[in-house]
Amino acid sequence: MNSTKRVQVLFLITALLTSSSVCRAEITVALTKGFVRKYKDKATISTTFDIDKHHDHPNPIGSGSDDGDIHIAGRDTVVRLPMVAEIINGAKEKSALDFLLQSTAGDAIPLTGVWRLWFEHPGNTDQIQGEDVSIPKNTNPDHIFEFHPVVKFGSFDVFDSFAPIEDEEAEFRGYSAEKAFDAYEKRPGLITRSNTAIMTQSNKAGFNYAEFQMRLAGKPKDVGDGFIVFANIYNANAKTNDDPVVDESRRMVFVKGTNLLTQ
């Protein structure tokens, strides 16, 4: 091997090794089979949420992360994973917002929210249900599980927050259906099972919000706290004869009590 080649190979080895600091490996989230069985066909989970950190005001409304949410990081005894709860349209839910802003770390608040497992902030450590959950140091710790959107916070229903994210000055827009669903459909994911657990492995995901039009592909199923229905996905401005952006129908979840359901 001549010296030029040697330098090239050493350069590549170094690049390979240093790339680890920017490459994120896939992360696994593990849940008990009992938990999966209990909640897979439910819209929401109710728990006592131990608050650790919360924003002192909702996000502004604009673009990107300016989505009008208010974030609460905490821990609980039902889900037992690193988690964040988000009230969407936080500024519109005055009573819940005031109650949240008065609460401090350590307060245990009854909370019901739509459960979500999404690898938006997976971090670098596997998240195993039941393992010790570190106390969050900010409102956005590494987490895969979210209560997002929150449905009830303390004694306050926040059903009205299920609405387009907008205020007098701005309107938050999600990604186009084509772009977002293309990304959703291409996401790598590996689901495995053991005797007592279900493990899902994936890497960092994006496209938190999408704007789309759905056309029901079946009859909604009443699951107690909401309805589950399969629907075909179209661009938000799709016309009757346009093709869906995804070939197959996808499962959609509605929460009972929200205006969207009655619409």
Binding site: M1, C23, D132, P188, T192, S194, N195, T196, A197
Partner: protein, 334 residues
């Protein structure tokens, strides 16, 4: 000749393949050491000891010492609360034979501690009993801490339990940090031992792959086979599928090393007779690179192998098998 000609890519594939195999061996060894040393349980015990050590329960000698007229030693006396905690029925029932628990809920910690401290008191309320129990303790750091905590409660037993749980949670946060750091340290230690025992010198491996086209070709072929295997995964088991307490996590690193993989690894690493064949001024650097690489873990190298395979074999040959979802019934690739 471009930088990314096939020889260089094949050498890189070979290196990644070796790192992947060594990482699998390292992870298996780490799991074995963790189980053998009861690392998680011991870390939990250390955390509890840090909270409760240095606190006597009474100023009197314990009954057996009374009988023998021998006063307790300072160490015995100062660990009375800790020993009482460890032998409390709520804690003992969590033992699996002689094996201590790997997890203790804040609620159980608080219930055990308040039971020990309130046991000898029958006052007007549970909170009063607890407060009396704490006040009766000889001076010690636990007494000081608990009195400080109880000042934050609202004279209610539920509040008292809540602040004690918070105290325990803070301690467990540190315990999680210790455990992660210990695991990382062990990973590096095992990676270093493996590297030195096997003389896995990255520079030597690169040289061999570069100068031996037959070996290089065989390694790339085997790397292709490895890339088709399941990704190394984490497997979790619970004692009860409805209760997430005490998960047991094992790293299922794909399959074990195949005979062919072991054979190729043997050709690329290992000690040769004659120190000149093993040693150069670059050898420590080569070892260091290998240790660093192994500590990144098998999943990382598996992903990297797949990515580089895609680059190397872009425009797949017609006979190459397409990747299909696992059909084992236990795995779904989405």
């Amino acid at each position: 000749m471009g930088l990314f000609n096939s020889t260089i890519l094949d050498v890189i594939i070979g290196l990644i393949f070796v790192y992947l195999l060594l990482s699998i061996l390292c992870t298996a060894a780490n799991e074995w050491v963790a189980a053998l040393s009861k690392r998680r349980a011991n870390t939990l015990i250390r955390g509890i000891e840090q909270l409760l050590t240095g606190q006597a329960l009474t100023n009197k000698p314990p009954p057996d010492k009374e009988a023998s007229n021998a006063p307790p030693t300072d160490k015995e006396a100062s660990n009375e609360l800790l020993n009482e905690f460890k032998t409390h029925p709520l804690i003992k029932t969590m033992f699996n034979g002689e094996n201590p628990p790997t997890y203790l809920s804040p609620r159980n910690f608080s219930a055990t501690l308040t039971d020990i401290l309130s046991a000898a008191h029958e006052g007007k309320s549970e909170f009063a009993n607890l407060l009396s129990g704490i006040n009766d303790l000889p001076d010690g750091k636990v007494k000081t801490s608990l009195l400080a905590l109880l000042r934050r409660s609202d004279q209610e037993i539920d509040d008292a339990r809540f602040v004690i749980e918070g105290w325990f949670n803070d301690a467990m946060d540190r315990v999680s940090g210790w455990y992660k750091r210990r695991t990382q340290v062990w990973t590096i230690v095992i990676a270093a031992v493996l590297t030195l025992v096997a003389n896995a010198d990255t520079i030597q491996i690169t040289r061999k792959l570069w100068t031996d086209p037959v070996l290089r070709s065989a390694v790339v072929e085997e790397a292709k086979v490895r890339a088709q295997k399941p990704r190394p995964t984490v497997s979790v088991e619970y004692k009860d599928e409805d209760d997430p307490t005490n998960p047991t996590v094992t790293r299922n690193e794909g399959n074990e090393l195949s005979g062919k993989e072991r054979e190729l690894l043997g050709q690329l690493i290992g000690w040769r007779s004659g120190w000149r064949e093993n040693w150069s001024w670059f050898t420590p650097l080569g070892w260091l690179l290998t240790i660093l690489a192994i500590s990144m873990g098998a999943p990382f190298w598996f992903d990297m192998l797949n990515k580089i395979m895609n680059v190397r074999f872009a425009g797949k040959s017609p006979d190459e098998k397409a990747k299909v979802p696992e059909k084992s019934g236990s795995t779904v690739r989405a």
